[in-house]
Symmetry: C2
Subunit: 326 residues, 2 copies
C-alpha cells in the first residue's frame, strides 16, 4: 500500500493540512514542524503523487516547448537552455516537434492546456492569433511574433543584419548576398534582411537577397540553393547566411567551387550555435543570447501565472563573434 498524506500526518503527529502546507510551501510553518514533517516523509518513504498534486493545485509543475525541429542546432540549444532554467525552478519540460504544421501545433497546444501545464514556449507563428487566445494557459512565442496573439521574446534581428553588413563591408567586401531568408512574416530572418539591406544601401554596396522555401529549413539541406546563388552572382565576395547551418554548407560549396575563405569570399552566419565552432574554418557569426532568451521565456510564463502583466515584445541584444570565415 502506498503511503498517504494521512500516514505522514500521523507519524509526525500533526494535522493533514499541515503536511499539505509543507509540501506546497504554503502559509506559515515553524522550522520545528517542517523538520518533523520532512523526517516523517523520509521515514515512511513518502513520495507525493505528482498527478494528484496537480489536480489539487490546478496546475502542473511543467512547461511545454513546441519547436518546428529538434535536430537543428539552434533548437537543440534552445531546448537545452530552457531545460536548465526550468530544472532550476523545479519545472519539468515537455517537448514537442510540430514540423511547422499548423494543425499539429494547435493539437499540441490543446494537449498542453488539458495537461494543465504552467505554460508553453512556442517557436512558431503558424498558429492563428484566435487559436492562441483560445488556450487558457500562458503562451510565449520565441523568435516568432503573432500579431495580436501573445507575448514574445525576440533577439534584435534588425541589428543582427546591420552588424553582419557592417562587418563584411569593413572587411572590404563590395558585392554582398544574403542566403536563407524565407517568406515574409513567417520567420525572424525577415528583419535580418531589412537591417542587412539598409546598411548595404547606406554604404553604396551592391546587395542581393536570395529567398528560399521552408523545405530546406526542415531538412537542413541547402547545397544546391547555395551553389546556384554563387554561380548566378559570380562577383560575390561576401555572404550573410541566416543560420550557422547555411554558413557551414556555404563553406562546403565554396571549397567545391575553389573559392578561398576568407581570401576570395567571406562568410558570416547567424545564431552562434555549436556548429559554428566545429567547422573548418570556424564560422564568424551573430550571437543570439539563447541562454537569456530561454531564461526570459520561462520567467514570463511564471509571471503570467502569478497574474502579472508582461510586455508584448521583449527584444534582446545580439553581438558579433569573429572567427575564421571573415
Amino acid at each position: 500500500m502506498a503511503t498517504t498524506l494521512k500516514d505522514v500526518a500521523r507519524e509526525a503527529n500533526v494535522a493533514v493540512e499541515t503536511v499539505s502546507r509543507v509540501l506546497n510551501n504554503r502559509g506559515y510553518i515553524s522550522e520545528k514542524t517542517r523538520k518533523k514533517v520532512n523526517e516523517a516523509m523520509e521515514k515512511l518513504a513518502y513520495h507525493p503523487n505528482t498527478v494528484a498534486r496537480t489536480l489539487s493545485k490546478g496546475r502542473a509543475d511543467a512547461i511545454g516547448v513546441i519547436v518546428p525541429h529538434i535536430v537543428h542546432p539552434y533548437f537543440a540549444q534552445m531546448i537545452s537552455e530552457i531545460e536548465k532554467v526550468a530544472a532550476g525552478k523545479n519545472l519539468s519540460v515537455f517537448i514537442s516537434s510540430s514540423a511547422g504544421n499548423n494543425e499539429r501545433e494547435k493539437q499540441i497546444l490543446e494537449l498542453c492546456e488539458n495537461s494543465q501545464l504552467a505554460g508553453v514556449l512556442l517557436f512558431s507563428s503558424n498558429v492563428r492569433p484566435e487559436q492562441v487566445k483560445a488556450i487558457n494557459i500562458p503562451v510565449v512565442t520565441i523568435e516568432r511574433f503573432i500579431e495580436g496573439g501573445t507575448s514574445c521574446v525576440l533577439c534584435d534581428n534588425y541589428a543582427g543584419g546591420s552588424i553582419a553588413a557592417e562587418h563584411l563591408i569593413k572587411k572590404g567586401c563590395k558585392h554582398l548576398i544574403m542566403l536563407g531568408s524565407v517568406d515574409r512574416n513567417a520567420m525572424p530572418a525577415d528583419e535580418r534582411e531589412d537591417g542587412f539591406r539598409d546598411v548595404c544601401s547606406a554604404n553604396g554596396v551592391s546587395v542581393n537577397i536570395i529567398h528560399n522555401g521552408m523545405e530546406s529549413f526542415q531538412n537542413m539541406e541547402y547545397h544546391k540553393y547555395i551553389e546556384k546563388a554563387l554561380k548566378e552572382n559570380p562577383e560575390t565576395d561576401g555572404v550573410f547566411c541566416s543560420s550557422d547551418i547555411i554558413a557551414a554548407q556555404t563553406i562546403q560549396v565554396c571549397k567545391k567551387l575553389g573559392m578561398d575563405i576568407p581570401g576570395r569570399i567571406k562568410i558570416i552566419g547567424f545564431d552562434d550555435t555549436m556548429i559554428a565552432g566545429n567547422t573548418t574554418p570556424m564560422i564568424t557569426t551573430i550571437h543570439q543570447p539563447i541562454t537569456e532568451m530561454a531564461e526570459l521565456g520561462v520567467d514570463m510564463i511564471l509571471r503570467e501565472n502569478n497574474g502579472q502583466v508582461v510586455p508584448e515584445k521583449n527584444i534582446l541584444k545580439v553581438s558579433l563573434v569573429e572567427r575564421e570565415t571573415t
Copy 2:
C-alpha cells in the same frame, strides 16, 4: 464552468460510464453511440482533463527521456526521433538533462515515477541497479547497460570499432589511434575500442587508444586533447574518433598542423549525426541506427506496460558511411 463528463452524458443521453468508455477506447460501443458521444463533446467543446484521466487510468500518456546532454548532436537527434515515434503513438515526451549527475538522475527517475509516466528512456549507466529497480515504471536504457538493472537498446559497438579499423586499414593506414574512449563501463565507446583494437592486432597494424575524461564529453571541447595526441604520435596516418564531434575537431586540428585530409591522414567518426555532413571535408563515419533505436526503446516501454517480457539486451546493426575524410 468547465464542461464535465456528466454534461456530455446528459447531452448525448447516455450513461457517464459510456462517455468514459468512448474516451478511453475501452469495451464495446456501437458506432451509433460513439457518434452521439463525439457530437455531444464537440457541441459542448468538451476537452477531457488529461490530469484527471491519468489519475483514473493510473498511467499518463507520456514517457520520460533522460539524457546527459541536449546540445550534443547525438542526443538532439535521439530526442528528435523519440519524439516522432512517441507522437505517432499519442505519447507526450518529457525531457530532462542530468549532466551525468547520479543524484539528479535518481531525482528525475523518481519524478517520472510520481508523475505516473508510461516509462523512461535513460541514456546513462550512472544510476545503480538497485536505484533503477526501485522505480515502479518501465525503464529502458539506450546505449548504456546497467548490469542486472534493466533492459537496454544498444548499437553493435564492437562491430562499429571493427568496421572502422577495417576501413582505415583497407585505405592503407599503418599507424592508427583512437580518440575519445572514456573510463571503462561508463560508456559504449569501450566496446568500440575492443573491436578496433582486435582488428588492428589481427592485421599487424600499430594502434594506440588514447583515453579521455568525461569533462570533454560534457562541454564538447576536445581540441587540446586531439593536438596532444597527434603530436605525441607523429606517425599517425589514421584516426578513429568515438563521435562525429571529435572527428569535426580533429579536422580542425589537422588543418592547424598542416596535415592534409585524407592524403596525409584519414579520419573516421561515429554516430552519423547532422554534423558529419556539414563539415569540410565531410566525415566518413559509422552510422548508428538512431531511428530504429528510438522506435525499439519506445516499443519496449509499451510492451512492458502490457505485461510482456522484453529481452535484456537488444543490439542493432551499424554500418559504414563513406564521405570525404578517408
